[in-house]
Amino acid sequence: MSEYKQEQPISPYMAMFEEFRKELDEHHDRRERIVKASRDITAASKKIIFTLQRVRKLGVPLPPYVNKSNEEYWKTIETRFREIAPDVQNVNAYRYPQLTWGNQEFMEALSFQHYLETQTLISYEQAKSRVAALCGDGPTVPLTIEDYVLGIYDMIGELMRFSITAMALNGNLPAGEPRKAPAGEDSPMINGEETAAAPEEPRNVLTDMRHIEQELEFFHPGPGTPFEKDVNGKAKVMHQCIGKVELANYSLTVRGKERPKGWRPDLAERPKEEDTRAEVETF
């Protein structure tokens, strides 16, 4: 047996390849951990969003049952972030594109919750410090501009579902609580026109969606990048979402008062958009 082995001289490059194997194994292990964590974060974020869709009020703290039922999902996200944070430091910071799946979904959940609570759009810096807080004292998972922007695009879809459910159940478009006019700040926008800074009308979801869209339309990702492709695709979806809310709002205004409470605006009446009905009815 040993004689047989001697007949096959060991490749002179074995030591080099053994070193490579060690490195590649570490790399693949890191990637596997990140893929798994990214999936878990995605699933937990989806569950958070699902619970948030049961909220009916805007600009007020979430009802206790929402926080309670989402607690475990936030905990999952925290645990996963902490697990993979060491894997995405220094030279490995941008090495694993799979990280972005979880990050985008997380951004969607985070920005949706933030909007429901405060009726404001969470900023990139706020979102990053939230991730840092979840990661605790250890290293922090990087959240890129891509993660942030694409998550916000998806959040608009959640605002669409939120608005349509609220309109169907309560018969009106969700708006914030009436607030006192802030001293000397921008004047509020109503029906697209600036009004005098008099007693402030609360903003509603639809005007907020339009404003976010306006801002996003001015944002240009690098030409020829995958980011640009993603943005273009999501921009189309976002525009459709706003259209759906506008249509529901129109139906509500024109015929809403004739219908009994609880009637759902029949979006399928609009031709071309066969998928509208199915999407709305999932909620």
Partner: protein, 239 residues
């Protein structure tokens, strides 16, 4: 376009735009350098591909003449490294990884033929430059694990090594045509040694895996050549 009070923090998207534009500027800078690099790589290929028709006696000269285009490409790598180091390495690495693999392959081929230790006279072929030697030649660090800087990655080296095996399988055939029967024997041993190395790697389902899967066919191609030579008693006799 005044946003309603408080919805969107002032300057939020302007700030994101500014940061995105910075990346775009870096990307544009890199793209220019990479285009130059690509042309230089082609000039190296142009010279080295003559290796398939050059008898060993004249190889030294050919390898010398490859040094100038190789040097130019190395210079470009230096420029690229400077610009690329303004951003995290893996952020833009995909832009030049292909060119890097190409150049490293050319260096390995040149080195294998005998260019790396070319003292004039008859060259001695068969030497594989390891990743450190290639890094030294390119004047860039190799396989950085912590520091986030421009470097030559293991995967790039391995891709280049697969290309080298493919090129040598071709060279084995052409050597026979030129009447050089010793070289296929050298190549046969070399590609087997490389294949043995690849066989201990746990490759995942990526491009490296797919390409390394084809190595065994290249090894077989060379074996067939050896078989043909032995059948006709053309193999050089072992002393």
């Amino acid at each position: 376009m005044a946003a309603p009070s408080g919805l969107i923090a002032h300057g939020l998207f302007e700030d994101l735009q500014a940061r995105t534009d910075e990346d775009t500027a870096i990307r544009d800078g890199l793209r220019d350098i990479i285009q130059t690099w690509e042309k230089q790589n082609r000039s190296i290929t142009y010279v080295l591909s003559r290796g398939h028709g050059t008898p060993i006696a004249k190889l030294s000269e050919l390898l010398k003449s490859a040094e100038e285009p190789l040097g130019k490409a190395v210079e470009t790598v230096g420029k690229l490294a400077e610009v690329a180091s303004k951003a995290p390495y893996y952020k833009f690495n995909g832009m030049w990884s292909r060119q890097m693999q190409d150049l490293v392959f050319q260096i390995l081929f040149w080195g294998w033929l005998g260019g790396y230790e070319n003292g004039g006279g008859e060259v001695k072929s068969g030497r594989l430059m390891n990743i450190e030697e290639v890094g030294e030649y390119l004047k860039v660090p190799v396989n950085l694990k912590d520091e986030d800087k421009f470097h030559l990655a293991i995967e790039e080296y391995l891709h280049a090594l697969i290309s080298l095996v493919e090129e040598l399988a071709r060279l084995a055939r052409n050597s026979v045509t030129m009447g050089e029967y010793e070289r296929p024997v050298l190549i046969n041993q070399f590609v087997k040694d490389v294949l043995a190395g690849f066989q201990i790697l746990n490759l995942k389902n990526d491009s490296l895996r797919r390409r390394s899967d084809s190595l065994k066919y290249k090894v077989k191609d060379v074996e067939d050549i050896i078989y043909d030579l032995s059948l006709r008693d053309l193999l050089p006799k072992k002393e």
